[in-house]
């Protein structure tokens, strides 16, 4: 009996030591990034005022939507500030838009309309012009609403829903038309040199995000999903040069970090159409339920960082390749299901994920259709997959929590 008690005490001591050690490492690691977090938070706090000041000095603020089909490089090269509108996750703005569009427009798209109506988020009402990528019907409708009510200059950037053949020239031409429009609007010439400089800058940003993302392959990850996504979101509003500096610093510190203590948290791949700035509920619940999201395949809301833009030759063709061809297509694109499935499977393998959470927004018809296909194909491979949908209402938080907790248990326990 005495021997057993000793064993139990030893085991208990070891467990407690592990917890204390993990806490110590976490605190130390946290301290390492605290300075950068503070720098970024201060920058984002002051950013609206900086932009207002810039506007007074004649600099144009050019908005666009996420999804990675609008090359920021062209906007940046025009001497304007590219600003990706990415707020989402809150029912207030989405509901406010119901006076303009019906409920079948997805909550993210409605939130964009609502933000401009409510005038609470400064970025939304400081725009001089807006580049609307014509991707899905939801975001297209937002651009149409703004165009119809005439309170914002709109450039509609047609996104061919194929990534090969004759459509590439169409997209290149539309990018050239965007360049012409921006030149006329800002009075600044957009030279190849300026576009090249912008490509370099954004390539650095993508490169750093990719490096940070790849760090998450280690188990457990050095940076939480929430922190990574917040960084990503910050990159849409922050000054790009400043953001590169912050990312560089964060990456260096993450590299130097001690690996955190092992946990048994299931590693999860998050897939979905959209993750807005503030739409963090699922990420938080997964963490609270003991899971760990280790990578994401999100169309709108995550800057696409897997590929860089080639900075040689005809730059408009380079941008076309980078933004349309050499990337994983969103679900609204033609022939995308198989390509997206292959990419998801690659992520599962590379990030050693043991389950998938499919988080879609209500009324997103292409992702909803694809969820069936993915569930079937993942099922064939015994990869558990949970499909969640949200209209940003907090009313379903309890239900989400129950479903996520049950899913994490299933993944932990292996396949049923």
């Amino acid at each position: 009996v005495g021997y057993s008690i000793l064993e139990i005490l030893k085991e208990k001591y070891q467990k407690e030591s592990k917890v204390i050690m993990a806490q110590k490492i976490a605190n130390k690691n946290k301290g390492g990034n605290a300075m950068e977090e503070k720098r970024l938070a201060t920058h984002l706090r002051d950013r609206p005022a900086q932009l207002e000041e810039a506007k007074k000095n004649g600099i144009k603020i050019i908005g666009y939507f996420p999804g990675n089909y609008v090359p920021e490089e062209i906007i940046y090269a025009s001497g304007s500030v590219p600003l990706c509108l990415i707020h989402g996750g809150s029912s207030g703005p989405a509901d406010a838009a119901l006076s303009v569009v019906p409920h079948i427009i997805c909550p993210f798209a409605r939130a964009q309309i609502g933000e401009r109506l409510l005038k609470k988020t400064p970025y939304y009402n400081m725009l001089d012009m807006f580049v609307a990528p014509i991707t899905c019907q939801h975001l297209k409708k937002v651009a149409e609403v703004w165009e119809f009510y005439g309170d914002l200059k709109i450039f509609k950037l047609g996104i061919p829903q194929l990534s090969s053949g004759f459509v590439l020239e169409y997209y290149s031409d539309r990018l050239r038309a965007l360049k012409d429009r921006l030149q006329a609007f800002t009075g600044n010439e957009i030279t190849n040199e300026k576009i090249g400089e912008a490509i370099d800058l954004y390539n650095k940003m993508r490169e750093l995000l990719k490096k940070i993302s790849l760090i998450r392959r280690s188990s457990p990850s050095q940076i939480s999903a929430l922190d990574f996504i917040k960084l990503n979101h910050a990159s849409f509003y922050a000054d790009p040069a400043f953001m590169v500096d912050v990312l560089d610093s964060i990456y260096s510190k993450l590299k130097a970090r001690q690996p955190p203590a092992q946990t048994n948290a299931p590693r999860i791949l998050l897939i979905g159409p959209n993750l807005g700035y503030g739409d963090y509920r699922v990420l938080e619940i997964v963490k609270e339920a003991g899971g760990e999201i280790v990578t994401e395949e999100i169309c709108e809301g995550i800057r696409y960082y897997w590929n860089n833009i080639e900075n040689t030759g005809d730059l408009f063709q380079s941008l076309t390749r980078g933004y349309l061809v050499d990337r994983v297509p969103c679900a609204f694109m033609r022939d995308s299901a198989r390509k997206r499935l292959d990419f998801a499977l690659k992520l599962v393998k590379e990030f050693n994920a043991s389950g998938i959470i499919w988080y879609e927004l209500l009324c997103c018809e292409t992702y909803d259709s694809e969820s069936y296909y993915f569930a079937e194909k993942m099922g064939e491979r015994n990869i558990p997959m949970l499909i969640l949908e949200s209209d940003y209402s907090i009313a379903d938080t309890g239900q989400l929590r129950t479903r996520i907790e049950a899913f994490i248990e299933i993944v932990k326990g292996g396949n049923v």
Binding site: S99, V100, V101, P102, I104, I105, I134, C136, Q137, H138, K140, K141, E144, V145, E147, F148, I154, F155, K156, L157, G158, I159, P160, Q161, L162, G165, F166, V167, Y170, R174, A331, F332, R334, D335, S336, A337, R338, L362, C363, C364, E365, T366, D368, S369, E370, S371, Y372, Y373, E376, E389, D391
Partner: protein, 460 residues
């Protein structure tokens, strides 16, 4: 069965010779004796089936359904189908006119009025699709698209050698094609364009969008050539376009007669029949049969107009409807007539005035992009307002198709603009044009009655 076929314009000799084939086709569609009885009742209740022209139209629709189901049995070696692909019925016409071995159809436009409107049996088809990727519920998938998936899942139609669709209006149809390819191994092709026309550069933007659609459609015919083994020449397409133009003209003339008559000479449920016939895929040989059906109906309605006969009383409030009528059930249009509202026209038949002329048949096939619903609100709404003035309507009824983000998304903007500009009431009613389960009789009746009162009060 024989009586039903007579109601649908079949002659005695034709019934005798074709009955076994029709019975076989009905069997595959799951049409029972009970359904046939219901079909007869619904034909008599909802349609002016005493009009020869209406019967002739039903005959055309019935033929396309039977031929679609029996295509392989009929010895067709190649089947090229379309769904949600405006303009491609011309290619189908060219194909079937060139070769008797090829069959082409745009199923929904015949299948929905026959299986849905006549037999009232569309729900099992929709449910079959909902068990696949087009689930029921708040996501609101388009039931027009569900119909094709349901038909495929239930093996109602033979597997095509090529299935074509387009993304002119939405992403649901192309995504469905993508999944039909992945999960059912069906060869597919998507035509497409970019909906990036801006208000300020509308004509240039339209030319750009139409040229892109034309180029895309040209690559479709390349693909079809690989499937059917012969080339589709521009001459073949012009022949089809010219034949189709006669039908377009006849339908336009008929619609003008209906829209400008008081009392309304025929119920608005029939507008769906015109819409469907206009979108059928017919060989050049069959086109005159369709023209004859429409002209017959025109003559019959002209007679009613001359005699002052109508389906609602003279002076009933005249309304413009937004979007085509119910595609799988005529009940809402029937209700509107019962309430005493004259639904004189739908906006989708009107084109924007900027005419683009071209010698390229592919450009002509893509001109549907000038129609009301293919345009953004900045152009669509002024068009609707002009049509309201032209038709002298006292209200607008926007029964918006909840499964379509493109058209439904404009509803509130249309209401605000029309009320502000014209001072006439606009009724917004959310429903699904292709799903009778969304019909709510009591609610809809009350809303239409109040709408009618508002129009009378405003006009007084």
């Amino acid at each position: 069965m024989i009586e039903l076929l007579r109601l649908c314009g079949f002659g005695a000799q034709e019934i005798e010779s074709e009955l076994p084939r029709i019975e076989k086709a009905f069997g595959r569609l799951g049409i029972t004796a009970e359904d046939i009885e219901r079909g007869k009742q619904r034909l008599n209740k909802y349609y002016d089936i005493e009009l020869k022209g209406v019967r002739k139209v039903f005959r055309l629709l019935m033929w396309e359904v039977i031929e679609s189901v029996m295509a392989r049995d009929d010895g067709k070696t190649k089947i090229v189908n379309g769904f949600m692909a405006p303009g491609t019925s011309i290619i189908g016409c060219a194909l079937m006119s060139k070769s008797k071995e090829v069959f082409s159809a745009h199923h929904g436009w015949a299948f929905m009025p026959i299986v849905g409107c006549i037999f009232g049996k569309i729900v099992p088809v929709l449910e079959a699709a909902e068990k696949k990727w087009l689930k029921a519920g708040a996501v609101s998938h388009c039931s027009n698209v569900k119909t094709y998936v349901g038909m495929t899942a239930l093996n109602m139609i033979p597997k095509p050698d090529l299935l074509m669709s387009s993304g002119f209006l939405c992403e649901t149809a192309p995504k469905t094609l993508d999944l039909l390819h992945e999960l059912y191994d069906i060869s597919v092709f998507n035509c497409f364009t970019c909906q990036d026309r801006e208000f300020g550069e509308y004509l240039d933007g339209s030319k750009r969008a139409i040229n892109l659609a034309a180029t895309s459609t040209r690559s479709l015919t390349e693909r079809i050539r690989e499937v059917v083994g012969f080339e589709i020449t521009d001459d073949m397409l012009w022949e089809a376009l010219n034949a189709k133009k006669k039908l377009d003209d006849a339908i336009r003339k008929l619609r003008d007669l209906i829209a400008n008559s008081d009392p309304l000479p025929i119920g608005p449920a029939h507008e769906n029949l015109l819409f469907c016939v206009n979108n059928l895929t017919m060989s050049i040989d069959r086109m005159p049969v369709a023209v004859d059906a429409i002209n017959t109906l025109y003559e019959e309605l002209q007679e009613r107009v001359d005699k002052g006969i109508g389906v609602v009383e003279k002076g009933a409030p005249r309304v413009l409807c937004i979007l085509p009528p119910g595609g799988t059930d005529p009940i809402l249009e029937h209700l509107a007539s019962e309430v005493g509202i004259a639904m004189v026209a739908t906006d989708n038949r009107f084109l924007l005035p900027d005419v683009i002329e071209s010698e390229d048949p592919y450009v002509v096939m893509s001109l549907h992009l000038l129609s009301s619903m293919a345009n953004s609100p900045s152009k669509r709404i002024p068009l609707i307002i002009d049509v309201c003035k032209e038709l002298n309507v006292v209200g607008v009824f926007d029964r918006y198709h909840v499964g379509c983000r493109t058209v439904a998304g404009d509803a509130m903007m249309i209401k605000k603009a029309v009320e502000k500009e014209l001072g006439i009431p606009v009724l917004l009613l959310e429903w699904e044009n292709f799903d009778p389960r969304t019909y709510n009789h009591e609610e809809f009746r009350r809303r239409l009655e109040v709408f009618k009162m508002m129009m009378i009060k405003k006009s007084a």
